[in-house]
Amino acid sequence: MTEILKPDTADQVLDAVKWAVSEATPLDVRGTGSKAGFGRPVQAGRVLDLSNLAGITDYDPGELVLTAGPATPMTEIEQALAETNQELAFEPMDMSVLYGTDAGAGTLGGVIAANLSGPRRIKTGAARDHFLGFQAVSGRGEVFKSGGKVMKNVTGFDLSKLMAGSFGTLAVMTQVSVKVLPRPEKTRTILLMGADDTHAVAALCDALGSSHEVAGAAHLPASVAARSAVGYVSGAGTSVTAVRVEGPGPSVEHRCNSLRDLFAPFGAVEELHSHNSAAFWREVRDAAPFTGDWQDHQVWRVSVSPTAGPTVGQHLRARLGGEVYYDWGGGLIWFALDARSDAGAADIRRVIRDCGGHATLVRAAADVRQAAPVFQPQPGPLADLSKRVKEAFDPEGILNPGRMTAGV
């Protein structure tokens, strides 16, 4: 049985890591483990369970900064923010939907460690863009901090950026500060029905290149749209192309009208109001079309420049079958395929080789994730530099060994 260390304080985290270093025993670092399916399986004899390092320690809406323990549940964060009409503007996806695990199990630290975001990525950025500072214990067993609790800071290297997306392989965060923003007053989504990929691209490029501050752009082929819980989408019987606008009421109304005009030449136009709009973008965010009956499919998240999207999508389907949909503004292709031993990794990476993007395997059985490179393999010199960065924080390889790269 795996031994679990469950520290109550940052001091105990320090003790635990120091001890692990001295025993040369790697640790599997966890918030609540909601993203255990993301990344390669960690080879560690002991779990460092951070779930007791939870709770919001400092939040003043007027300052737009929230500080909390890393294992604070996202549900608690979202609720506290909602009370003052604020939110995490980067719209982190809830990965438990994709994994079919307990809804809302994620923690703030986990969201940052995985650098999550949602369809608002194009406008507002990812977790990295809202991560202001932290305190942590490095894999050396040393306490350190970086960044701060203010919005603007160029004081020393921005180590927060390195921590965002490092999947717990550099240091164990014990406190984190994030930027928060007011919730938009109103949300509307304009839908274009039945556009083929070429027309959808043209329409979305027009919308994103306009001054209407589009905060979400997606394209769902007919078979994917049919699985939406939103009637206007699933009932369309055809492909659905969507853009979201948010802001004060009169502004949203004005921009919706302009976007309707812009879409009209491409086909029939519909509109989603607040509730439907929220439900629809949650589906896009959480890869919901690939859950339920599709739970046994492997899922990839492919990131390319937005205009390369449709070609890449077509090639993926031609080579490997399966289904795609596009979280377009973010240049993101969600791709689901029948389970196979290598998850199609080599083929997928061949498809995107020439357009400069990357593919991440986000759902597959542990043995598949063990064998296939989950994250995009890096060219030699970049891989070497990344390895040196890892060693700068964790020279003994104590923290989540192998989670991102085999042998690192």
Binding site: I4, L5, K6, A16, K18, W19, S22, E23, G62, E63, L64, V65, T84, I122, A126, R128, F144, K145, S146, G148, K149, V150, M151, K152, N153, V154, T155, G156, F157, D158, L159, K161, L162, A164, E185, C205, S211, H212, P248, P250, S251, R255, S303, S305, P306, T307, G331, G356, G357, H358, F375, Q376, P381, L382, L385, S386, R388, V389, A392, M404
Partner: protein, 495 residues
């Protein structure tokens, strides 16, 4: 300011180094003449000056790579330089180092409206990026006041900001990719036109690294469509504290303006006398709040901001009714530095960030310090994000005044840290604030940052003496003391 001791061995090899550089960069790209070197002896922080060993102005990435490789192999240091407008001495030369100027990297390479990005060389000015795309209604959002002169490469190295930061982010939020050269000559690409490359966010740590990690040779930035319209409102208050509270009230109402700037009374008076912007002279604090977006949105929100301000005790309010009027509102703020330059022979421009709710306390303590040091101070302030720019006025010809001004400045920055803020909001640490890093960071904090430096540049050849008060050897930073079973941990529950 104590800089690393120059290596006489390198200085003695100057002729040989010049020859090697001329072999890589032919023609006028190598500057060795003292009179011409003088143009590079400082950046925007003019209190510190030093002639470089030589200046090299390469034109291609291959040349940069060869130069760095030569320097790496021959133990020669490099100071990267963009436009030299930095305010913290980041591009201050060293007597035994080559200053590597990127000014010839001045081409816009690719404009991609469909993907809303532009690929440019690092020597293109910040405004140059906007100029390249504004014909089609686009712009590059981060807008430092120096935007007409500063380079985009320098902006990345300093993670520069401007009045748009609150709504549109800093440089780090607007850069998608770079090509960079490591000190050993390795050329790397980080990011590109897609978002969030997998692996560690090396682009994120390069941004704001002040020329210590690598030389940036190409940049991909996000461009945005220009908002339909913009309007600004001037709001006057009886105290800076009320002004600060008004900023919080606007944000609490869910409004994120395109810009919120504040000036205190000395700054208002200095600028009004200089540019006649039409500012009220009888208020203690003046806010400029700008809303941008569709006309209906701007018209709607500016009314709401007006109402909020009235509720917060504004004693003056004027909304811009034309583009000329809006420009006039900004002309004062944008000319605040030269305006203060007119009323004082010299001034130091400080830069620190505080939690906004501490503004009243900080300004009051600054007034006390002003009395103590016998020097005037004027404040302009990115109020939306808590970034202060106190301007300390002094006369360098009066013995001791520069020292007093510097001490005053250091006290202000220490105060910023004391109230929960940071040493720099946008100008960086450079040499200016290097020795204050200990106010904010522990020895272990600083060592961890320097270990990242070692991963990029293990021999400390790139821009040494900047940002970090002590230069640790990488070998020494890498050491770890491990003793088996050192700590028992009875108190950690195990299951």
């Amino acid at each position: 300011m104590l800089m690393p001791k120059p290596d006489q061995g390198v200085i003695d090899r100057r002729a040989e180094i010049i020859a090697a550089m001329r072999a890589i960069v032919p023609g006028e790209g190598v500057i060795a003449d003292d009179a011409m070197l003088k143009a590079f002896e400082c950046d925007g922080l003019m209190a510190y000056r030093q002639l470089p060993l030589i200046v090299v102005l390469p034109e291609t990435t291959a040349q940069v790579s060869e130069i760095l490789k030569y320097c790496h192999d021959n133990g020669v240091k490099i100071v990267p330089r963009g436009a030299g407008t930095g305010l913290s001495g980041g591009a201050l030369p060293l007597a035994d180092a080559i200053t590597l100027g990127l000014s010839k990297f001045n081409r816009v390479l690719d404009i991609d409206y469909a993907n809303r990005c532009a690929v440019v060389q690092p020597g293109v000015t910040n405004l140059g990026v906007t100029k390249a795309v504004e014909g089609d209604g686009f712009y590059y959002a981060p807008d430092p006041s120096s935007q007409i002169a500063c380079s985009i490469g320098g902006n990345i190295a300093e993670n520069s900001g401007g009045v748009h930061c609150l709504k549109y982010g800093l440089t780090t939020n607007n850069v998608l990719g770079v090509e960079m050269v490591l000190m050993d000559g390795t050329v790397l690409r980080l990011g590109g036109k897609h978002l969030d490359p997998g692996g560690y966010d090396l682009l994120g740590v390069l941004t704001g690294s002040e020329g210590l990690l690598g030389v940036i040779t190409e940049v991909t930035v996000r461009i945005l469509k220009k908002p339909e319209t913009a309007r600004a409102v001037l709001l006057g208050f009886n105290s800076s504290e009320e002004g600060g509270d008004c900023v919080a009230a606007i944000i609490n109402a869910g409004i994120i303006p395109g810009g919120i700037e504040m000036m205190d009374k000395p700054a208002i008076h200095a600028t009004e006398e200089f540019v006649h912007a039409g500012y009220p002279m009888d208020v203690e604090a003046l806010l400029i709040v700008e809303l941008d977006g569709p006309k209906v949105e701007v018209d709607y929100l500016i009314e709401r901001v007006g109402e909020i301000a009235t509720g917060q005790g504004a004693i003056y309010s004027r909304i811009s009714e034309s583009e000329e009027e809006r420009a006039a509102f900004w002309s004062g703020r944008k000319n605040a530095f030269p305006a203060v330059g007119r009323i004082s022979p010299d001034y130091l421009c400080m830069d620190g960030t505080i939690p906004r709710k501490k503004l009243g306390l900080v300004l009051q303590r600054m007034t006390e310090m002003s009395d103590k040091y016998g020097l005037r101070v004027a404040n302009v302030f990115h109020a939306g994000d808590g970034n202060l720019h106190p301007l300390i006025m002094f006369d360098a010809n009066q013995p001791g005044e520069l020292d007093r001004a510097e001490e005053f400045g250091a006290d202000i920055l220490k105060l910023c840290v004391e109230v929960g803020g940071v040493l720099s909001g946008e100008h960086g640490i450079g040499v200016e604030k290097r020795d204050l890093m200990g106010e904010m960071f522990t020895e272990d904090d600083l060592k961890q940052q320097q270990r990242v430096k070692c991963a990029f540049d293990p021999d400390h050849h790139l821009n040494p003496g900047k940002v970090y008060p002590t230069l640790h050897r990488c070998a020494e930073l890498g050491r770890m003391h491990i003793s088996r079973g050192q700590v028992p941990f009875p108190d950690i529950p195990r299951f």
